[in-house]
Amino acid sequence: MLALAAIPALLVVVIIAFVARASAPALADIGLLRLFSDPGWHPTADAFNLWPMLAGSLAVMALALALALPLGLGCAVCLRFFAPPPASRTLRLLLALAAGVPSVVYGLWGLSELVPLIARWRQPGASLLAGAVVLALMVLPTIALTAEAALAAVPATVLRGAAALGLSRWGTVVGVALPAARRGIMAGTVLAAARALGETMGLLMVCGNVVQVPGSVFDPVRTLAANIVLEMAYATGAHRGALAVSGLVLLALVLALLLLVEQAPRRAHG
C-alpha cells in the first residue's frame, strides 16, 4: 500500500528533478536576477525577463477564480440544499462531464466566439479578460463538484441542530454549512488554481500572447505555460534553458499555493 502511495510522490520528485536539471545551465549562465531585471523577453537577442509572463499567469488565474468561485459555490449550494434530488443528480453528471471536456475545445470556442465578441467592444479582443473567462469555465466544474462534496460531508446532525434552533434554510447554509465545509472548499479552489496556472492550450488561443504586464483586462497577456509551448519547439541553448526555468517557476508557484493551504488555520467541524 505504501509503495502504491509512493509512486505519484516519486513521479513528482522525478519531474521536479528533471525541470531543475534542465534549468540549471540557464540559471548559472543568466542568473536568477536577470530573469526579473532584463529589459524584456527577446531570447534570440539575449534578454530573458520572465516577470511579464509571471504577472500574466497570476492575473489570469486571479481573475478566473474571482469569476468561477462565486458561480461554483452558488452551484454547489443549489445542488446540495435547493434542487430536487433528480435534478441535482442530472446536474452533477453534467458538471462531471464539463470537467472532462478537453481544454482545446474551450479554447476553440473562445477563439471563434468570445474573442470576436470582446473585439467588437475593445480591440484586439484576445486579452486577459478572454483568457480569464475561458479559464473560469474550465475550472468551474472542479470548484462546484469539490464544494458540493465538502458540503455533503457536513454531518447531518449539525444541519438538523441548526434547523432545530430555528435557523432558516439560508441561515443554515451561510451560517453553518459553508463555514463547516470551508477546508474542503478551499482545497477545491487550490486544485482549480493549480490547474489554472498550468492550463496551456485553451489560454494560448485566446490570450493574445504579447509579452507585457497587463495594464487593463483588455490587454493581451502571455502566461508562463503558453510561453513554453509557443517557443520550446524552436528554442536552443540559453533560450531553451530559460524556458525550463519558466517551468520551474510554475512548479514553485503551485508549491507555494499548496503550502498556503497547509498553513491555513484548521477549524474543527461543528
Binding site: 534570440t44 474573442v115 480591440q123 484586439p124 493574445g208 509557443l230 524552436y234
Partner: protein, 264 residues
C-alpha cells in the same frame, strides 16, 4: 510478407556490398521536421538504414556538408554563388499577409507593411481602409514564418509592435478571420486552402504578384524561399538514393502536411 522479406534481404545484401547504412543530416531547424518525416519513411522502406537528423541552423548545415562532418546539410534559403556545395531543393516555403475578408484594402506596399508592423501606422484609414485600428498579429519567436517575414521586410522581431502573438498557422487564420481589424501573416498553403473553403480571410498580393501556391513553387512570389539539402559535390551511394527519394513525388504528402509547397 515473403516479398517484403525478399526486399529486406536484397536491401541488406546491397548494403553489405560496401555501402554505408548510416546517414547524418544536419542544419536548418525549418527543414529538419520535413527531413525527419522523409527519413522515417525512407528507413521503413530500407530496413537497416539509420538516418540521423540534427538541427543547428542553416549555417551549420552548410559548414557540416562542406567539411564532411555530415553527409547532407539542410539550408532554408537559396545558396549564394560562392558557396561551394550542391543544392537539392526538396520543398518551398511561402508566407503571405492576410486580412479579414470584409477589409476593402486590396494591397499594401512593402513600406506600408513595415510601417504597420512597427506601429508607425496604427489605423486602417491611413492605408485606404475603414476607420478601424490595425490589430497586428505576429508569430512567436523562432517560427520559420517569422524568419521569412522579418528577412524580407528587414525587420527585427523586437521592433514589431504586435497586439496578438500566435503559435501555428491555423491559429493565425482563426484570429484574423474573427477580427475585421486584424492583419497577420501565415504559410500560403494554409491560407489558400482555408480561404478556398470559405474562411473569412483574404490573401494580399506582394509587389503585384498574386499569393498562390503556384507562384511560390515557381519562385516568383517575393515572400518565399527554397528548402534545400546540400552536398559537397555530386552525392553518391546512400546519400544519392536518399536525395532522389526526398525530391520524388513519394514525399509530397509529407511536404503538404507541414504546410510547405512541393517542388512540382
Amino acid at each position: 510478407m515473403i516479398a517484403r522479406l525478399l526486399v529486406a534481404v536484397l536491401a541488406v545484401a546491397a548494403l553489405g556490398a560496401g555501402e554505408s547504412t548510416r546517414l547524418t543530416v544536419t542544419g536548418s531547424s525549418t527543414v529538419a521536421p520535413l527531413v525527419t518525416e522523409i527519413a522515417k519513411r525512407f528507413e521503413a522502406r530500407h530496413p537497416g538504414v539509420r538516418i540521423d537528423v540534427q538541427t543547428g541552423g542553416s549555417s551549420r548545415g552548410l559548414a557540416d556538408a562542406e567539411s564532411g562532418v555530415a553527409d547532407i546539410g539542410m539550408v532554408s534559403r537559396a545558396l549564394k554563388p560562392d558557396e561551394p556545395v550542391l543544392a537539392h531543393t526538396i520543398a518551398r516555403d511561402g508566407v503571405c499577409l492576410i486580412v479579414h475578408r470584409s477589409n476593402p484594402v486590396v494591397a499594401l506596399s512593402d513600406q506600408q507593411v513595415v510601417a504597420i508592423y512597427t506601429g508607425q501606422v496604427a489605423g486602417w484609414k491611413e492605408v485606404g481602409g475603414p476607420d478601424l485600428p490595425i490589430v497586428v498579429v505576429n508569430k512567436a519567436e523562432g517560427r520559420s514564418t517569422l524568419e521569412v517575414f522579418c528577412g524580407h521586410f528587414k525587420l527585427k522581431n523586437a521592433d514589431i509592435k504586435a497586439a496578438v502573438v500566435i503559435g501555428d498557422n491555423e491559429q493565425g487564420v482563426k484570429t484574423v478571420a474573427g477580427n475585421p481589424a486584424a492583419i497577420g501573416y501565415v504559410s500560403i498553403g494554409t491560407a489558400e486552402s482555408d480561404a478556398a473553403v470559405g474562411v473569412a480571410i483574404r490573401l494580399l498580393p506582394m509587389g503585384g504578384i498574386a499569393p498562390s501556391v503556384g507562384n511560390v513553387r515557381s519562385g516568383t512570389f517575393p515572400l518565399s524561399r527554397p528548402l534545400n539539402l546540400v552536398t559537397k559535390g555530386v552525392p553518391t551511394g546512400l546519400a544519392a538514393r536518399f536525395i532522389a527519394f526526398a525530391t520524388s513525388d513519394e514525399v509530397f504528402d509529407l511536404v503538404r502536411d507541414l504546410n510547405l509547397v512541393p517542388i512540382r
